[in-house]
């Protein structure tokens, strides 16, 4: 996710719950939406829950930073297939205060006991200490998530319990991934997420302390090199068992799920194996994509455009349709457009995302426009995974297009001038609309005055007259200047006075500082400085 977007989501954090549950070993503070790519019931929802964070740990931002990093482009979304499917995820962060910071350690001598809300413990038990593993009260985790980020029907949920401890560790229990909070990269958390959601098995072996169970196999680990659940990924030229050390070659490699013999893994090295920096590889990646689709109603997000399923259009006009999808830019999304049950367009990518139909080619009445959507990503090649889960088969997107006939109209204007009762000259603009039925037969008109413009008439009430205005000149002389004015009355009852200009004056302006002969007056006793009337010239001098 882009930093700007993260910031935006950070700023848009919305409190989902305000209830505070007080427990002896801590309290749930509340939940915040930290990533919102779409409606809750149409996304996979990652729910982060923290354990071993004291109020001080929450206050100094430790937990919030770890969650932000997990959701950044360096975290989960740097790893395929989360990278390709990041628009399919929302995320919620549940803040929980624990009495103690950190986690219990059964893996140390002496044992370190911590009082935390979800009772996270390295080593899992006092009697059987499992190195690197963190167990927790997962039913309490699920109950907390149910209370603060309720499931509402359509979404998949991925619960990640972050444990506030610097020691490497984690565990992937079905439904809840437990991860140490101080992860440097997101590889270890992604490994645990692989256990918890697509139910992937470990692909490593020969690790001291681990327990081998030959009856524990699944979608990525099998008890025979033949008939593996992922056999359709294996080229016929790949020998079984597979011995190559080349990465990215699906086969059946001896050694998996803590057993050096008797179990086979799908690829030589993947993120479910010992090298966490490796990609998930084909088989595990396919399981992830299928998990997302099989648990969440991902598309459509809604009806799309037009936003109503009932659309009306006049014959001859064009209407454009497009579905609402989490990632309409995906090059692998296939759209099959059906018009009245007949395929009119099919293809992958942006070019087929919308469909435009000119109603001139359709008959009057109701037509059905439907789009079938299918994600044909090469990350999934098992057709039983693709359909119906990765299609819109269970959630068809369709519009009823009602084409109405072109019962058109024409408009024209004409003007009527008259003198109104006040004597003003007025002009009305009339707009005439002529209506024609579908066959073109004239069926009637509307005549509406859409504008009126009037020009008032004014007349002089009498002749021009002079009005004197008194003023005091700089040298203290009392002066009077006369102006010519004339009164007018108008047809709308208003009146006004027209200023016709200056008439006589008893004295002119003079300057205050010219002095004798100043400013080029030249000894004529007149003053001709800027902006003042020259008494002698009787005009402006500049």
């Amino acid at each position: 996710m882009q930093p700007q977007r993260l910031l935006m989501f950070g700023m848009l954090i919305v409190s989902l719950a305000t209830r505070i549950c007080i427990a002896q070993d801590g309290a749930v503070i509340g939940a915040s939406v930290v990533l919102q790519n779409g409606p809750t019931d149409h996304r996979a929802q990652i729910v982060f829950v923290g354990d071993g964070y004291t109020q001080a740990d929450l206050d100094n931002g430790t937990y919030a930073r770890q969650v932000s990093y997990a959701l950044s482009s360096s975290g989960l979304f740097n790893i395929s297939p989360f990278l390709e499917y990041q628009q399919y995820f929302n995320a919620v962060r549940i803040d929980v205060v624990s009495r103690d910071s950190g986690a219990t350690h059964y893996d140390t001598n002496p044992i370190i006991q911590r009082d935390t809300y979800f009772q996270s413990a390295y080593g899992c038990s006092q009697t059987t200490v499992v190195p690197r593993a963190i167990c927790a009260n997962t039913t309490r985790v699920v109950d907390t998530v149910n209370a603060y980020a309720p499931y509402n029907g359509g979404h998949a949920r991925m619960i990640v319990l972050l444990v506030n401890d610097a020691e490497f560790g984690g565990a992937g229990f079905l439904g809840v991934a437990v991860v140490y909070g101080a992860f440097g990269t997101f590889d270890a958390p992604a490994h645990e997420i692989g256990h918890s959601f697509p139910a992937l098995k470990d692909e490593y072996f020969n690790v001291p302390g681990d327990a081998c169970h030959l009856d524990s196999y699944g979608v990525n680990v099998w008890n025979s090199p033949y008939g593996t659940p992922w056999s359709y990924w294996i080229s016929p030229f790949t020998p079984l068992p597979t011995t190559t050390t080349q990465n990215g070659v699906p086969g059946a490699y001896l050694g998996a799920n803590h057993c050096a013999t008797g179990l086979y893994r799908a690829t030589f090295s993947s993120k479910m194996g010992a090298d966490l920096s490796r990609p998930f590889e084909q088989v595990n990646t396919e399981q992830f994509v299928y998990w997302i689709y099989s648990k969440a109603i991902l598309f459509p997000d809604g009806i799309g455009h037009p936003s109503s399923s009932d659309v009306s259009a006049v014959e001859g006009t064009s209407v454009s349709f497009s579905p609402a999808l989490p990632d309409p830019n995906s090059a692998y999304m296939q759209y099959t457009w059906n018009l009245d049950g007949n395929v009119v367009d099919r293809g992958q990518g942006n070019g087929h995302f919308s469909y435009s139909v000119n109603t001139a080619s359709l008959g009057l009445g109701t037509h059905t426009v439907e789009v079938e959507i299918a994600d044909l990503t090469p990350l999934v090649i098992n057709p039983s995974y693709q359909s119906p889960s990765m299609t819109s088969a269970n959630h068809p997107v369709a519009w009823n297009l009602n084409v109405t006939c072109d019962s058109h109209s024409t408009t024209s204007d004409y003007y009527v001038s008259y003198t109104d009762s006040s004597g003003a000259t007025c002009t009305d603009t009339h707009e005439v609309t002529d209506y024609y039925d579908c066959s073109g037969t004239y069926v009637g008109s509307d005549d509406e005055v859409v504008d009126t413009q009037c020009t008032r008439q004014c007349w002089a009430d009498g002749g021009a007259y002079e009005v004197g205005y008194d003023w005091v000149r700089d040298d203290g002389a009392n002066c009077t200047t006369y102006y010519w004015e004339q009164d007018y009355s108008c047809s709308d009852g208003s009146s006004y006075t027209n200023d016709l200009g200056q008439g006589d004056t008893t004295c002119y302006y003079m300057t205050g500082g010219g002095g004798g002969g100043g400013g080029g007056g030249g000894g004529d006793g007149c003053y001709d400085y800027d902006y003042y009337y020259d008494e002698c010239m009787d005009e402006f001098m500049y």
């Binding site: 499992v130 229990f173 697509p198 470990d202 327990a211 080229s235 109603i297 039983s384 269970n394």
Partner: protein, 201 residues
């Protein structure tokens, strides 16, 4: 052989091999997906007019659901204040001690998309009418189990929520544990809960 013929032959062989590589195996429905075959091994049946896919579609589109909180004392007599190790529970049969703790009707939203994936750490529940007709079902994690590096730890007694169709005809809920037998799962029945029709329990 003329060079042109040789090239053409090589191209044909390459094409055949490439096609074979792509179409090597026709994928079968996943071994891990709940199917009608699994249900056939239970005393319950889908309505005659419905496939499992159609049940899934129906369940996805329901406007409301009911939420039932279940308590399961799976290993009575065993301590339930800590995780039990494999050795501690070895040979102990899972009990049928399921009990309804609470039941809420008309909860907004669908009961959810059917989660088809079976696994040893999952539970299957089937909600049915008195006559055994399936009205809602799902696969869910068995939250009792914590598998850490091959070591399985168990919580003896848990409480968990299930979401199912808010169908007044639902009179019972049965719980099953998928058991892996070589290359297929079989549903082993754990126990039944009888629900009252009044909405409580």
């Amino acid at each position: 052989m003329k060079p042109i013929v040789r090239i053409a032959l090589a191209i044909n062989i390459y094409a055949i091999l490439t096609t074979a590589a792509i179409c090597q195996t026709t994928p079968q429905p996943s071994l891990f997906e709940l199917s009608g075959q699994h249900l056939a091994g239970t005393p319950f049946h889908l309505p005659a007019y419905m496939t499992l896919q159609e049940q899934m579609r129906l369940q996805e589109h329901l406007p409301t659901h009911q939420k039932i909180r279940i308590e399961w004392d799976s290993l009575p007599g065993m301590p339930h204040d800590r995780l039990l190790t494999e050795d501690e529970v070895k040979g102990t049969a899972l009990s049928a001690a399921f009990a309804v703790l609470s039941r809420n009707h008309a909860v907004p939203g669908a009961p959810g998309k059917l989660n088809f994936s079976l696994g040893p750490d999952t539970l299957v529940f089937i909600a049915a009418t008195r006559a055994g007709e399936i009205r809602s079902l799902n696969v869910m994690p068995d939250f009792r189990i914590q598998d850490a590096e091959g070591h399985r730890f168990v919580t003896a007694k848990i409480a968990f929520d299930i979401n199912l169709a808010d169908d007044p005809q639902i009179a019972q809920i049965a719980f099953f544990k998928p058991e892996l037998h070589e290359d297929h799962f079989e549903l082993k029945r754990l126990g039944n809960l009888t629900l009252s029709s009044s909405g409580g329990h």
